[in-house]
Symmetry: C2
Subunit: 111 residues, 2 copies
DNA sequence: TTCGTTTATCGTCGATTAACGATTGCAAAG
DNA sequence: CTTTGCAATCGTTAATCGACGATAAACGAA
């Protein structure tokens, strides 16, 4: 583990960046929205809904899981995915904080 | 311009992903927050505040500009950066939409 | 014009990402 | 026990990212 420039930023900046990065692909956005709409949660359903290969879906699910946004539970031969409640609550908090820090600017900037 | 798998997703999924990707680095989060706090906006100020090289800051600013989150105006030898009002409003809208689509889940998922 | 200041771009490097097919691992069904 | 079906992992490839130093471009001042 080398010391990256990354480590020079605040913890909250880094956490927010991790969340945003996880959201930074249309497939992962689509997965989250599918998980929110349907309870179904089954990985195979996601594969049929999405225009990408099974292995790629699995990869994206892994990244979402690593970011704490999604959790998967093995249910026999299939795996049931759903939104990670605690992780998503944290993500909501961080994103709302950003929206609060950067409000709709009332006036144009001086320059 | 080849046809990417990317193009199989909805426009709103792609737009949101572009925004999220732009937010997916702590330096870019920090830049946005600095631009929100201070009116200063000058590129040089950002460089002295951030733990990364000038060329790297410039690179991040370019990406933020490409995502429509920031705009820069040349003011003599220096460049004054500020948050892009219209772009940020769009970003706010998309992010709020995501937070609305994925509300705090009331009940645990079935699996 | 020449110089110093400020910012953007270039070129490079290693690391990471995104995608796929193929393979493996596992649990239920037969 | 063997087969089947689902999902994760492996291995590969091309592309993108992040960082830096060096260079170029633009401008104001001397």
């Amino acid at each position: 583990m080398a010391l990256h420039k990354r480590d020079q930023f605040t913890s909250s900046e880094q956490q927010l960046a991790v969340i945003a990065k996880a959201l930074g692909h249309p497939a992962r956005i689509a997965i989250l929205q599918l998980l929110a709409q349907r309870q179904s949660c089954v990985c195979g359903e996601l594969v049929t809904e999405l225009p990408i290969a099974q292995s790629t879906v699995s990869q994206h699910l892994k990244e979402l899981k690593a970011a704490g946004l999604v959790q998967g539970e093995v249910d026999g031969p299939r795996v049931c995915y759903c939104i990670d409640r605690a992780g998503w609550a944290r993500a909501r908090h961080l994103l709302s904080g950003l929206l609060a820090d950067l409000p709709e600017p009332a006036a144009a900037c001086a320059c």
